[in-house]
């Protein structure tokens, strides 16, 4: 199913440049849930402007990995440095990283008691101290970008899944993040709606946003990613640029995985 989606416009990857500035640096990171070793010796460097797709079977730790990057999960060993700030138990650093890193969830997690516009302006107003008027203008700008400005005064419950996910993307963008994390953004959507969300993500990639994306959409990975990471049992098993990864997987585990989903 995933590969059957064709995109209206093909992303021109040539101008999506990757700088050599480091955005995220993870070294020797380990994490346990109780006694269960979920992430094992993760080493990953992400440059600014890089678009990384992380795939792997369920329970392989891919969501946990990106949730560690904005400390929704705590890691126990190793270091994670995001944009020069090391994540530790220091709450100031955590808040700083969180306001620089946008996150889009599988189940959207919009705030159901607030309108679409309020969802988008809440964090800029309360965290960034942006004046309300300015925040609203910015929110409308991003809602136009995800192509739903006309829904601004509705509540999330009145929108379709695809629209909600696009609002969630706009909400993150309103904080002007330097890095965007996507945690299976299309897994809870009907097939008809997956495409509209993926297209929004592609246009974001074209603008040079640094993106880490946990997804099963291999079409999307081929289209925009400049690196695909395959994880299994809490470790990075293989990473490569997409053409190589899909056409010529090296590890047996990767070959098995690809043969099952493609």
């Amino acid at each position: 199913m995933s590969t059957s989606i064709e995109f209206d416009h093909h992303a021109d990857r040539s101008h999506m440049s990757v700088s050599d500035k480091v955005a995220i640096e993870i070294t020797g990171m380990n994490k346990w849930y109780g006694n269960f070793h979920v992430l094992r010796d993760i080493n990953l460097t992400v440059n600014e402007g890089e678009r990384i797709v992380i795939c792997g079977p369920s329970g392989s730790g891919k969501s946990t990995l990106i949730r560690c990057i904005n400390r929704l999960e705590e890691h126990q060993e190793g270091s994670i440095i995001v944009d020069g700030t090391e994540l530790s138990s220091d709450l100031k650093n955590v808040d700083k990283v969180r306001s620089e890193v946008g996150m889009v969830f599988q189940h959207f997690n919009l705030f159901p008691h607030l309108t679409i516009l309020e969802n988008c302006t809440l964090a800029p107003i309360w965290v960034r101290k942006t004046p309300r008027k300015e925040a609203e203008e910015m929110a409308m700008h991003f809602l136009e970008k995800v192509k739903i400005p006309e829904q601004a005064h509705k509540y999330p419950g009145m929108l379709s899944g695809g629209q909600q996910q696009r609002v969630a993307i706009a909400r993150s963008l309103c904080m002007m993040p330097r890095i965007m994390l996507f945690d299976e953004p299309t897994s809870a959507l009907d097939p008809e709606m997956i495409k509209e969300v993926l297209e929004t993500m592609i246009s974001l990639a074209e603008e040079g946003m640094t993106m880490l994306c946990v997804t099963h959409e291999m079409g999307f990975a081929k289209e925009v990613a400049n690196r695909v990471i395959f994880m299994d049992a809490g470790q990075i098993v293989e990473q490569n640029e997409p053409n190589e990864f899909f056409d010529n997987p090296q590890s047996e585990r990767t070959q098995l995985f690809l043969s099952q989903i493609l």
Partner: protein
């Protein structure tokens, strides 16, 4: 296989539902006579209703309103069944106000305007909190009008002048209110027209004004208490700018407590000796009737919600000590009957107080009932918190909101909305529980009903008194219940 092939040529338009299922006829058929069994049940039920009403109504509509005693009633009714409403006619002021000075004793003046004014102002203070459909100016009309009437009816030249001025103000605002329509006004406001101050200011002042109106005494006491909060707020603002919000909170609480404990008494005394302004003091033992129930109920309801929220959050806290304190408090209070707490308030507390200290009995009861209600409220709010998906916390975190902002903007609005039915049930329960104070000798309506029946004139009257009290309680509790339904409807955001 051409049989299986089908292509719709045009899409069907929408049609109205059949008449038999809509409209009055449809409703009756659907809800009352939907099959033989249901029709029989409907007829039986109507017959039952008829039986009850035919027995009750003649009893209720009995011409005994002016009877002076139970014997009078019997004479008037001449052997027919009927209620003896004379007791309500004679005693309703007492059922409402207890023994609050009504001017009947030598050398006293009728003070009952004070609880009445407090009750009216309660609504004025509560309206902007509970409803957002009443305009700011309407609120000020109500407030100025209520105060104006209170001043005008007091007599005396000065109060009369103030009262007339207030009424004139109310009339002026009302005139403006009815001369501009809503849409024009909204445009004026959008273009930066001057607005009246937010009526919530009065809602904040009311908790200090109400005790002064009810108990009387110097006005400088409540003003001093209010100043403590103002000082706390100023200190918070000053310290937070320099040393962060945690230090700000600590400094604010400290400075306010120091003010209340050491400085406020001197301030009140000094101001009183410069400008003596006050109402005649009324002792707590004169309080009674619905006035007492409402005082206890409103204080317990008003304080238990914020305390309950804090306890619920404390119970979820990661901090061991905070958590165990909250759990301990909630479980202890919920494990003890309210009666026990009230007995502790009325008898035991005095043993622990330093000799000679006089800790007002109503204040003691207020504290106990509030603590009792808070423990229940904490569990209701915790239920709401537990019902929130984890994703809401994560989304708030991921956007960089800190704990308090996330609680205030994301978590609490949703958790409280989920808990509305439970919260209002607790409110209703607390309000009805106020009748328990009759056991420790406070004269709430039930306590008074015993006193009234001890009167030789009314010995033997039962149904009328309890019926009246039940009706009054029903009015309050039913209003709360309807309000909660209105609130749930208003806060619904899932469709249209």
């Amino acid at each position: 296989m051409s049989d299986l092939s089908y292509v719709r040529a045009e899409m069907l338009p929408e049609k109205a539902p059949p008449v038999s299922t809509s409209g009055a006829v449809g409703w009756v058929r659907e809800n009352l006579f939907n099959g033989v069994g249901n029709s029989i049940l409907t007829i039986l039920s109507l017959f039952m209703v008829y039986l009850v009403l035919s027995a009750l109504l003649p009893w209720v509509f009995s011409p005994t309103w002016n009877a002076a005693s139970l014997n009078d009633c019997r004479t008037i009714l001449a052997g027919h069944e009927g209620a003896c409403w004379g007791v309500i006619n004679e005693r309703w002021p007492q059922l409402l106000f207890g023994f609050y000075p009504n001017g009947s004793e030598e050398g006293t003046v009728d003070q009952r305007w004070r609880p009445i004014l407090t009750f009216v102002l309660l609504f004025v203070a509560v309206i902007p909190v509970l409803f957002n459909m009443i305009s700011r100016r309407m609120n000020w009309v109500l407030l100025l009008g209520a105060l104006g009437i209170a001043f005008v009816t007091r007599g005396g030249v000065l109060t009369m002048i103030i009262g007339v001025a207030l009424l004139a103000g109310a009339a002026y605002v009302a005139f403006q209110l009815f001369n501009t329509n809503k849409v024009d006004r909204a445009e004026e406001i959008a273009s930066g027209a001057k607005r009246l101050p937010n009526p919530l200011i009065f809602s904040a002042v009311f908790p200090f004004l109400a005790p002064w109106l009810l108990w009387g005494g110097s006005i400088w006491g409540p003003i001093g208490a209010l100043l403590g909060f103002v000082i706390g707020a100023l200190v918070f603002r000053a310290v937070t700018a320099v040393a962060g919000s945690l230090m700000g909170i600590i400094a604010a609480v400290l400075s306010a407590v120091i003010w209340w404990l050491f400085l406020m008494g001197g301030f009140a005394w000094a101001m009183e000796s410069i400008i003596s302004l006050g109402l005649e003091p009324v002792e707590s033992r004169k309080f009674g009737g619905f006035m007492l129930s409402i005082t206890i109920g409103v204080v317990a309801i008003g304080c238990s919600l914020p305390i309950g929220i804090v306890l619920a959050l404390g119970r979820q806290s990661d901090l061991m000590i905070v958590k165990s304190l909250c759990v301990g408090f909630i479980e202890f209070i919920r494990g003890v009957p309210l009666i026990t707490l009230l007995f502790v308030a009325s008898t035991l507390l005095n043993i622990f107080m330093p000799p000679g200290s006089n800790f007002d009995i109503i204040v003691r009861v207020l504290i106990m009932v509030t603590l009792f209600a808070s423990a229940y409220m904490a569990e209701v709010v915790r239920g709401g918190l537990a019902a929130l998906p984890k994703g809401q916390y994560e989304a708030a975190d991921a956007l960089g909101l800190d704990y308090w902002k996330a609680q205030r903007l994301i978590i609490m609005p949703q958790a409280l909305k989920i808990s509305i039915p439970g919260i209002v049930s607790t409110f209703i329960g607390v309000f009805k529980d106020t009748t328990l104070v009759s056991i420790i000798g406070l004269l709430d309506p039930l306590g008074l009903s015993n006193a009234i029946r001890a009167d030789a004139n009314w010995n033997g009257v039962v149904w009328e008194l309890y019926g009246f009290i039940a009706l009054m309680f029903f009015v309050f509790c039913f209003s709360m219940s309807r309000y909660s339904m209105y609130l749930e409807r208003k806060l619904r955001t899932d469709h249209h």
